[in-house]
């Protein structure tokens, strides 16, 4: 039963990631793209955790922690770049 629920939840999360990817593609300004990248990183963590719950693979949690760290640092670096960048 949990495996079927995991499949449903994974489909919903991947659809959410595709929606965030549409915002990443269309975003009129750079902060929109930063927000979309942050949301994609968070949803990736959710996808890995759902896979852990469905299959029982405990080693995937390290990958989830790593992606959470890299997503946070990447968002900070991207925002800092957008703050310091001057055109021309």
């Amino acid at each position: 039963m949990l495996y079927i629920v995991m499949q449903i939840v994974l489909v919903v999360l991947v659809v959410s990631q595709l929606i965030a990817l549409v915002r990443l593609w269309r975003g009129p300004t750079l902060p929109d793209r930063i927000v979309a990248m942050d949301l994609i990183a968070v949803l990736t963590v959710g996808t890995i955790i759902t896979t852990t719950a469905g299959t029982g693979q405990r080693g995937l949690l390290d990958a989830a922690s790593l992606i959470a760290l890299v997503g946070f640092m990447g968002t900070l670096a991207y925002a800092w770049f957008w703050l310091k960048w001057r055109p021309g």
């Binding site: 039963m1 949990l2 629920v5 995991m6 449903i8 939840v9 919903v12 999360l13 659809v15 959410s16 990631q17 929606i19 965030a20 549409v22 915002r23 300004t29 902060p31 929109d32 930063i34 927000v35 979309a36 942050d38 949301l39 968070v42 949803l43 963590v45 959710g46 955790i49 759902t50 852990t52 719950a53 029982g56 405990r58 949690l61 390290d62 989830a64 922690s65 959470a68 760290l69 946070f72 968002t75 900070l76 925002a79 957008w82 703050l83």
Partner: protein, 124 residues
């Protein structure tokens, strides 16, 4: 343990629903600040529900400690990210939604609306 399995399934579905709502908000909202608000809050709640549902399935100390550390890290960094992105957005004068009624960072660039302080100088 069938009860724990049902609770896990319910928490996973709730987390997926909130994550989906976060993505829809990021797509549909008209402004960077509104999108950031949707992304930070709803996705934090969704991932917290997913983590809680997963933690009920593993009666082991190491897995629960990792999941707790991950949940606390997400809950600590999501408001920080939202704050930094909001500050950068206001500092770089990213165009806001035309229905914004209060912009305390740049009061002159705010469109006059029903709640604007320039329209109603009397204290309420």
């Amino acid at each position: 343990m069938i009860v724990l399995e049902w609770i896990t399934a319910l928490l996973l579905l709730i987390g997926a629903l909130f994550s989906f709502l976060a993505a829809v908000g990021v797509l549909r909202f008209p402004d960077t600040l509104l999108r950031m608000q949707s992304s930070s809050k709803a996705s934090t709640l969704g991932v917290a529900c997913l983590i809680a549902g997963t933690a009920l399935q593993f009666p082991e100390v190491s897995v629960i400690i990792r999941l707790g550390a991950l949940a606390s890290f997400m809950m600590l960094t999501a408001p920080l990210t939202a704050h930094i992105v909001a500050r950068v957005t206001l500092h770089r004068r990213t165009p806001l939604w035309e229905g914004t009624i209060l912009n305390e960072h740049e009061p002159s660039e705010c469109a006059p609306g029903p709640g604007a302080p320039s329209d109603d100088p009397s204290p309420r």
